[in-house]
């Protein structure tokens, strides 16, 4: 009985169709990416998430990528537990002074080729924390950034569009 009711919750399937890359910035980024590296990786990217000072709002929406609506793994994208297994670092927050060293070490621990995605308005440019002596600022001031996904926080659809741009040549 319980199982039957549970399964009914999944009907009709809730998974969203693939979002279109309607943002010209994302399309340009996709075109710019190193095609050799893309061929090597195929359609499979492992992502390591690094909270470098976020309010945790971005983390909630990044988490949502794993739910049945967005189902990140259908695209060959998955979150991994170690930077050593990662191709992509997704970094959130207005990099705090206290997280700078940890972010740099995580970046160094990630093997090449690698990409850094700055997620959220804070990671893009310090957001509401601009001017704080406790924050360094945008992620790009600490490690090289390949893609910026803005929003406070960006929606899972916006996150998905950004990540798919990384996969498309």
């Amino acid at each position: 009985m319980t199982l039957k009711t549970l399964l009914q919750g999944l009907r009709p399937p809730v998974t969203e169709p693939v979002p279109a890359l309607d943002d010209p910035e994302l399309a340009a980024l996709a075109a710019k990416l190193d095609r050799t590296a893309q061929r090597r990786l195929g359609r499979s990217l492992s992502i390591r998430e690094v909270d470098a000072g976020s309010c945790n709002g971005c983390e909630l929406e990044i988490h949502a990528l794993n739910n049945a609506f967005y189902d990140l793994e259908r695209f060959g994208l998955r979150f991994v537990a170690s930077p050593r297994h990662a191709d992509v670092l997704m970094v959130t927050g207005p990099v705090t002074k206290h997280m700078r060293q940890a972010l740099e070490r995580t970046w160094r621990a990630t093997p090449d080729p690698k990409w850094v995605v700055a997620v959220g308005d804070c990671a893009a440019g310090t957001g509401v924390f601009a001017g704080s002596p406790a924050c360094i600022g945008a992620v790009a001031e600490v490690v090289p950034v390949d893609l910026v996904i803005r929003g406070c926080p960006p929606t899972p659809t916006q996150l998905l569009q950004g990540l798919l741009a990384l996969l498309q040549s």
């Binding site: 976020s54 945790n56 739910n67 206290h98 940890a102 957001g127 406790a134």
Partner: protein, 467 residues
């Protein structure tokens, strides 16, 4: 709010130590320190302020341990000197080298240490956990926090009300509604105004939607940490439905910046009430079998029952709020114990359990989801008509304080508005300040592998704590 002298300050500390009242907040500014106290006889929060021109004051934690981290933070942020503070290591200030920190010494045969963080394996916030284990058993956990310290109190100084409200809403993103609510109510208290009735009720709807979304996420995540991933999958769907409903009704999935001083920034659209009602119906239908599944799965119960027990006496001494306190017998919920609109006109129960284990914290969340669904229904049925926002002309100097019950416990906001109508000082105290230290106690004697379960069942905020 009252000014006290040194003798009265110390007397209050003694009363906390003897359990006559509960420490509810402790913060400072250059030349002055403040404490918020919950009186047990007449449930109300009093703020006592002590002038200390030389920046030194008698330490509260010298007699009352729950104040230790708060006083260490006051030293770091404002150079205040709590005389008699038992632990003078920095807390929120990591200095130039974050890895240089004197952890407490541990001695004993066959002990080993496990260092975890600040970057964790999952998608969670950064913090460092230093475990000392004897085989599989944790004999001590020492936390080191402060990695996401963003200087919020510094930024508050001189901020306009608009800027400050946005900052308050980003103190801990998962509780953005509760923070915005507490901040708005503190401003309104300072200025002696009230938000229109309809605004108060809409605030209540948002606060309960936020509570449901977070509790659903936690319920799924706790079960997932016991490798029962089907629960995470189903709860993830329900949580997503709540966020989509919030976006449709209030224009933002997490409802950030929707509650503002003077009311709410957006009204409910024409189809809003119907959308929320249909969400409630769906959650009721889908959630009940999930709870049955939780209760009927022996392998899952085996992990949660009896794990990570927080003793009621500790919960009481530390004034633990939210599911952490209520799963360990502390019957406090700011919505009822202190009361604020619209909850003073609504009927609801505050679930309390005594066992203090992971299972009890899960059940508090289950029961609170049911209560929140019923609360939203009451609010939709009796929603008053009228305007949802009044214009504010801030004039000072004046001070205000307010509480809001976030999903993880009470948020306290105290602030002072200056003569120009800007924020002079604002302190935001997350429930996590009094919950984090208790996690260190709850994990003792448990196996290392049960730490994720215990940690998730507490679900303390890093950002809300690190400020």
């Amino acid at each position: 709010m009252s000014a006290v002298d040194t003798a009265q300050w110390q007397q209050m500390a003694q009363r906390m130590a003897s359990g006559d009242c509960t420490l509810f907040g402790l913060w400072g500014e250059p030349g002055r320190v403040h404490m918020a106290v919950l009186d047990h006889d007449a449930p109300a929060i009093a703020v006592h302020s002590l002038d200390c021109p030389d920046n030194s004051f008698p330490s509260v934690s010298a007699v009352h341990a729950p104040a230790i981290r708060l006083e260490r933070a006051m030293r770091d942020l404002f150079g205040l000197d709590p005389v008699g503070l038992p632990d003078t290591r920095p807390w929120l200030d990591h200095g130039p080298n974050p890895t240089a920190y004197p952890f407490l010494p541990v001695e004993g045969e066959s002990l080993h240490q496990i260092a975890v963080g600040p970057v964790h394996a999952g998608i969670i916030e950064p913090g460092h956990f230093r475990f000392t284990a004897d085989g599989e058993t944790v004999v001590r956990l020492e936390q080191r926090l402060g990695y996401v310290h963003k200087g919020i109190e510094h930024l508050m100084h001189g901020a306009t009300l608009d800027q400050a409200a946005r900052l308050a809403g980003r103190t801990s993103g998962d509780s953005t509604v509760a923070y915005a609510l507490a901040f708005a109510r503190a401003v309104e208290a300072a200025l002696g105004i009230e938000a229109p009735p309809r605004a108060a009720w809409l605030r209540g709807v948002m606060a309960e939607l936020e509570r449901i979304a977070n509790h659903l996420g936690d319920f799924g995540a706790i079960c997932n940490d016991a490798s029962f991933s089907i629960m995470l999958a189903h709860c993830g769907i329900l949580r997503e439905r709540v966020l989509r409903c919030a976006a449709a009704c209030f224009g933002h999935r997490l409802m950030m910046d929707r509650i503002v001083p003077g009311g709410v920034a957006v009204g409910l659209p024409a189809d809003g009430a119907a959308r929320i009602r249909s969400l409630i119906d769906e959650i009721r239908v889908r959630f009940t079998p999930l709870v049955e599944l939780y209760d009927a799965t022996a392998s899952l119960q085996d992990r949660t029952v009896g794990t990570g027990i927080l003793h009621p006496d500790l919960a009481r001494r530390f004034g633990a709020g939210g599911h952490v306190g209520r799963a360990s017998g502390r019957n406090f919920d700011a919505r009822r114990s202190i009361g604020y609109p619209p909850y003073d006109q609504l009927r609801f129960e505050v679930p309390v359990r005594e066992e203090g284990d992971v299972n009890a914290r899960v059940w508090i969340r289950i029961k609170e989801i049911e209560q929140s669904l019923a609360l939203i229904e009451q609010m939709l049925n009796r929603m008053p008509e009228g305007e949802v926002r009044i214009a504010i002309e801030p004039t000072g100097p004046c001070e205000g304080m307010a509480l809001a019950e976030a999903f993880r416990g009470d948020v306290l906001v105290w602030l002072r508005i200056d003569a120009a109508g800007r924020i002079d000082r604002c302190h935001l105290r997350d429930a996590s300040w009094f919950q984090w230290p208790l996690l260190e106690a709850a994990i003792e004697g448990n196996i290392v592998a049960d730490f994720p379960l215990c940690n998730k069942s507490f679900n303390c905020s890093y950002s809300g704590h690190d400020l």
